[in-house]
């Protein structure tokens, strides 16, 4: 697969400088988030994404605070998923996709040559819309990531990682007696939690979730949301969702995308009670402008 990267070295450096120049403090590249007081995990500036000739994202700049949940909302095709997939370079896999702009993860440009996308994806885990466990055993599903990255020295350590990950994903008690059963045999909600466990197993810093509950029933959805609430103690979570109620329930901050542009970003309570932009209001109240 060819890397379709259009950031020239100059622009990347310029962006580094810009990012370093703006915030003050001892850790210059990580300004403190205005919401939760945590540091910003991701700083993205002037992001433009193209699919061939078509531009999917227009000049989006967004900061994502650590240890909190950022929800990306917007109508279908607004670029929120595309933006999300830029954060772990999943867009690299699409030949015609071209990404411009600066993405700093803890101050490191993830599109520079220093970070390999394979390692980046271990650090920035992802959970997809449809639960997609590997057609292997539950144990193998969770152990796969740590194994390919060499995170466990021996079997005992691997067992430990699997158990902790499943516990964190609130799935351990349900599957501890059948770790050899196929992951695809679980219920939809359990499968999604297995996918979360799989993502956690590589000890990521960020977890990206692309409509993680859209294929689940309300009870399973509630479980996932409860899990997200627990996970945000330790992880930076970015979630794309079509359900406004879900965004309102789980997130600390919400960003509204429309036609590839970031229209408004702010604390969730403000976005859902008194949005500043009319477009945001029309969207979240179910009007069409």
């Amino acid at each position: 697969m060819t890397e379709n990267r259009d950031i020239t070295i100059e622009t990347a450096e310029a962006a580094q400088e810009r990012a370093a120049a703006t915030p003050a403090g001892e850790d210059k590249s990580r300004p403190t988030s205005p919401v939760c007081g945590h540091k910003c995990k991701f700083i993205t500036r002037n992001v433009n994404v193209f699919y061939g000739e078509k531009q999917a994202i227009f000049d989006v700049s967004l900061d994502i605070p650590d240890r909190s949940v950022m929800a990306l909302i917007g109508p279908s095709g607004c670029g929120k998923s595309t933006y999300l997939r830029c954060l772990n370079r999943m867009n690299d896999l699409i030949d015609i996709c071209r990404v411009e702009g600066t993405f700093l993860l803890d101050g490191e440009d993830i599109y520079s040559g220093d970070i390999d996308p394979v390692l980046l994806r271990a650090r920035v885990g992802m959970v997809f819309q449809k639960p997609n466990p590997f057609p292997k055993s539950i144990y193998e599903n969770v152990a796969y990531g740590p194994r390919i990255h060499g995170l466990a020295r021996d079997k005992t350590e691997l067992d430990e990682i699997v158990e902790t990950s499943l516990r964190k994903a609130a799935l351990w008690d349900e599957v501890k007696d059948r770790l050899d059963a196929p992951g695809t045999g679980l219920s939809g909600g359990q499968q999604q939690r297995l996918c979360i466990a799989r993502a956690i197993a590589t000890r990521p810093e960020v977890i990206l979730m692309d409509e993680p509950a859209s294929a689940l029933d309300p009870i399973a959805t509630a479980r996932i949301e409860e899990l997200i609430d627990e996970l945000k103690e330790n992880y930076c979570i970015v979630i794309v969702t079509h359900s406004m109620q879900q965004a309102a329930r789980v997130s600390d901050r919400t960003a509204f995308f429309h036609l590839g542009r970031l229209i408004e970003e702010g604390p969730t309570e403000q976005i859902f009670t008194a949005p500043r932009e009319k477009q945001t209001q029309d969207y979240i109240t179910g009007r069409y402008g």
């Binding site: 697969m1 896999l93 992802m126 449809k130 997609n132 057609p135």
Partner: protein, 460 residues
């Protein structure tokens, strides 16, 4: 007042109906559709009739296809099934040392031993009949002395004894025993004994043997375990089966890894550009090239240019692998394409590299489909005749003991071709039987493909 309004409403409805009728049963004036207008019902009838017509035509097509197939299989079974049984005659042979010549059995007078064995079984008057004595050997196969010789050579202690031994009936008597040829040929007014049976006295002698219950009709294992022969009653498919197996082995070893790797590269790694498009189109075209052309290619390239020995399973397998390759590539690509993108995303999402994704996740899931495609390609190769004929793989192999990849060989379809070409009456049913055997192998391979698909396909 109410009466009048009621009447008016009635009139309105009547008018609406008339109008609806004039508009072909569509919407009435107030947007109401009359679902029960005659036009509507007529149209409904027409639509149902069209449904029934379509169903009938489809059914007729299936019946026709099934009919043709059953005629084919039926005629094959009719002419082929008798060949699955073979007439044997049990006789006692006196292994006199002077005839056997124990020092060098190959030089023994086995013909005489067999002849005496035959005569021993017959009553006195027949034994003395000169005419019969001359022709009595017509009853048994010409291979019978050699079979007896081989048996005794394997068991030398039998020399000097009188042993019972089953000998093959000759082809005419085998056919006669199965009722496939008549004793007399009737042409208009004239009725004359069938010349193939050697004369009435020989037929009488055979009848006597039959009355003595010396004539059996057991399952014809020889069809599978005998090598080819000029004598229909002794001819078997062993050489062809071994040859086909060796050829397919070569085909599989060449086309399976090559095809899968080519498909994986094209599907998973190759950049999408003009060159790969060109390659893809050509692979698809290759699958449609007539097999004779591959044969010619093999003849000129492998035999003519590379000097691969002709008539061998090696060159046959190479030619067939050329033919199978596109099938395997196309099937493999289809199987890889069918792997849901969510699985690829899942693998990449935890940080698997591209080749880890392909070999750890995509390939195992696609394997049943790939194997199915490969087996179907192999089955196709198994049934292919023309390219094998062109590379000379229709050798006459009377002995299977020294078959090898670089030894001349024959294969099932070419064996069928050779037998179909032979003039002997016995090869007619032998040919049909060989076709049935080939079909049986093909069915088995397809069943294996289906089983693999069922067994290993992943449920999503």
């Amino acid at each position: 007042m109410t009466d009048r309004t009621h009447n008016r409403a009635h009139e309105a409805r009547d008018r609406a109906e008339k109008q609806g009728a004039s508009e072909g049963g569509a919407a009435g004036p107030n947007g109401r559709i009359d679902w029960h207008s005659p036009q509507m019902l007529a149209r409904l009838r027409r639509r149902h009739a069209a449904n029934r017509r379509m169903k009938f035509i489809g059914l007729a097509a299936i019946v026709l296809a099934a009919g043709l197939l059953s005629i084919l299989v039926g005629s094959l079974l009719k002419s082929g099934l008798p060949a699955f049984r073979q007439t044997f005659i049990t006789l006692e042979f006196d292994l006199k040392p002077e005839l056997v010549k124990p020092q060098n059995m190959r030089r023994g007078n086995w013909r005489k031993i067999v002849k005496e064995g035959l005569l021993r079984a017959l009553p006195e008057d027949m034994r003395k009949n000169r005419k019969l004595r001359r022709k009595v050997l017509k009853i048994v196969s010409r291979s019978a002395p050699y079979a007896l010789r081989d048996h005794v050579m394997e068991n030398p202690h039998l020399v000097g004894r009188i042993i019972p031994f089953d000998v093959l009936a000759s082809d005419p008597y085998d056919q006669f025993n199965k009722g496939l040829i008549p004793e007399y040929i009737v042409r208009g007014e004239r009725k004359r004994p069938n010349p193939k049976l050697g004369g009435p006295e020989v037929v009488r002698a055979f009848r006597v043997l039959k009355e003595q219950k010396r004539v059996h009709l057991p399952f014809n294992w020889g069809l599978f375990f005998n090598a080819d022969s000029r004598l229909p009653e002794a001819a078997g498919l062993a050489g062809a089966i071994v040859g086909s197996f060796l050829t397919l082995l070569v085909t599989f070893l060449i086309s399976f890894p090559t095809g899968i790797l080519a498909a994986i590269y094209l599907e998973e790694f190759a950049p999408k550009n003009r060159f790969t498009d060109f390659v893809e189109i050509n692979i698809n075209n290759l699958a449609a090239v007539p097999s004779v052309v591959f044969g010619l290619l093999g003849l000129s390239l492998f035999i003519g240019f590379f000097g691969v020995p002709r008539s061998t399973p090696l060159v046959g397998g190479m030619v067939l692998s050329l033919m199978t390759l596109p099938t395997i590539i196309i099937a493999t690509r289809a199987a890889l394409k069918a792997v849901p993108p969510s699985l690829r995303e899942a693998a990449l999402g935890v940080g698997a590299s591209h080749h880890q994704m392909v070999f750890h996740h995509v390939l195992p899931v696609a394997m049943p489909g790939i194997l199915t495609g490969a087996i179907i390609g192999m089955a196709q190769a198994l049934g292919e005749t023309a390219p094998l004929l062109l590379v000379g793989m229709n050798a006459f192999i009377p002995d299977i003991s020294n078959m090898g990849l670089t030894e001349p060989a024959t294969a099932l379809p070419t064996q069928i071709y050779s037998w179909a070409d032979s003039p002997e009456r016995g090869f007619v049913s032998r040919t049909a039987a060989a076709i049935l055997v080939l079909l049986g192998f093909l069915l088995a391979m397809n069943a294996l493909a289906i089983w693999l698909r069922q067994r290993y396909s992943t449920k999503w």
